[in-house]
Symmetry: C2
Subunit: 318 residues, 2 copies
């Protein structure tokens, strides 16, 4: 007879929505059962195409994701969406509105939507997103879309998961592309100029073009630029064609597997870090000792290097 | 006779610019000698007031930092400035310009300015900034100003170092304070409306005021709002008075030391993580094994949990 976790894993492989939702909750709560599940599901992963979408607030990310998902569904593909929200008491309302609008897909079993909040995750958000992405992959979603507000290191870590990263820009939303989007310019595979019927779209496209030319002069590959008006479902098919072109090219390249291996190197290190820390700080006694040492360091009664040496020594593994 | 490191530490305590600069370079390069130095200098730290300044590009951070530093110098205080730059091929020029302008202080031995680039540091930037801040503290700088572009988790980690955090806003730079500055609203101690002669300053002040009222309704303390026109050196003395008021209040509060202890808890954990990883992955042999395992995982020949267990087992500390 299968164990409860095996049954659960089987339900996830079959794409059962409630089983998937429960598993995401387990991941978010750092429930150890999530690791058991992911271990079981791991060999069912690696089949999805992961598309990352990032852009400042106001660029129309949610609408674009909505239209992309609908287009993929029309093409017969199953879709998973992970919307990573920078949560705050001040933005909760607007974000919630977006999510409700996206529930227009709620009756379609071929699409799964989940939003994940930044709050409480801090550095762990990229890891949780990666785990949820594995889960949706195992659940048979052929296209996984990860949506983030692209501003900090966290978001950069998140989009690193993606096989193809879209960077959204809109005309007139602060024209200092130079300043605001520097990090994004380096991670984008397709640059999407949304709301492209607005004034300034041509100029923005020229700016992006000039920058990409500057950045990618030597290595042969240059990111594509696609124009969309997501609210009117315009430019979506062309955008999908650009994504497909990029993915086909990327998967044919010898770098694709080394990129995957690099990704797993980073993830293994993260997992090692959290195992080692659990061992060192996992008990209440150990946590209390850390707090006492930190307080001594704060009062300059002990230097931090001596405190670290003390913890390592007492763990019997100096 | 003192060892070379002891001599170096002595030069830093005496505020010698070249000795400080060399130490910062050692920190940036992860040179183990930096730890030796910081261990020696640690008991000379804890005296500086650390002021964090964060705000989007275009809010006039560098100019404000420049004017603040000049005002502190007039009051006879020594100043250290750490400017944390999100570096990119696209912004290098502008940032360099700012730094050159700030070198107007170059002939003043009571002020030390250093910019640190994001590139290459990734998650380690907050740690490097914290170490440089300790160093400047040991070098006798009474005021340490840490300047960052406030957008991601990295920046939030950096400003956590500060005893008092200023959040810079300007009228008319995208009025969706709600969206863009959510994280910052929660970490700011003084909100500075710079370029306050611009249209929209009153409205922005009202917006900030309303938000702060909403966020801080219960806990008694509400962040101050100060208006400046940094380019004309207007409002600077008033801003310093608000900073002093906050610092006096904070240092008198019982939470001040628990905040310091929390800070050192986090730092000790970071140091433990890096020690443990060094031990596990410090040799070329171990690094090669990690790369080989990551490649197996990428090809789905092994699951990541099994790979982690294998590394821990072979390190003899399962």
């Amino acid at each position: 007879m299968p164990t409860p976790v095996e049954t659960w894993a089987q339900q996830i492989r079959a794409g059962e929505v409630r089983a998937i939702s429960r598993a995401i909750t387990a991941i978010e709560n750092h429930d150890p059962i999530a690791d058991d599940l992911l271990k079981m599901l791991f060999y069912s992963t690696g089949r999805a195409s992961i598309i990352g979408i990032t852009g400042a607030p106001g660029t129309g990310k949610s609408t674009l994701v909505d239209r992309l998902a609908a287009a993929y569904r029309r093409a017969g593909k199953t879709v998973g969406i992970i919307a990573v929200d920078p949560t705050s008491p001040f933005t909760g309302g607007a974000i919630l509105g977006d999510r409700i609008r996206m529930q227009s897909h709620a009756s379609d079993a071929g699409i799964f939507i989940r939003s994940m909040a930044t709050r409480g995750f801090l550095g762990g958000l990229a890891r949780a997103t990666a785990d949820v992405s594995l889960l949706l992959d195992a659940a048979g979603k052929e296209i996984i879309i990860i949506e983030t507000v692209g501003v900090g290191q966290d978001e950069v870590d998140i989009v690193r998961l993606a096989d193809c990263t879209l960077v959204l820009l809109v005309p007139g939303l602060g024209d200092d592309v130079q300043n605001m989007k520097a990090g994004l310019m380096e991670i984008g595979h397709v640059f999407v100029i949304n709301k492209s019927d607005r004034e300034g779209a041509d100029r923005l496209e020229q700016q992006v073009h000039a920058m990409l030319e500057l950045a990618h002069e030597s290595d042969g590959w240059r990111p594509a630029i696609a124009r969309t008006i997501a609210t009117d479902t315009k430019g979506i098919e062309n955008l999908i064609a650009e994504i497909d072109k990029f993915l086909a090219r990327a998967k044919a390249s010898p770098e694709f597997y080394s990129r995957e291996a690099d990704h797993w190197s980073r993830r293994l290190i993260e997992m090692l870090e959290s195992r080692l820390l659990d061992r060192l700080l996992g008990t209440k006694e150990n946590k209390d000792r850390l707090a006492a040492l930190a307080s001594e360091v704060a009062q300059r009664k002990k230097d931090p290097f001596a405190a670290v040496a003390e913890i390592l020594a007492s763990a019997g593994n100096r």
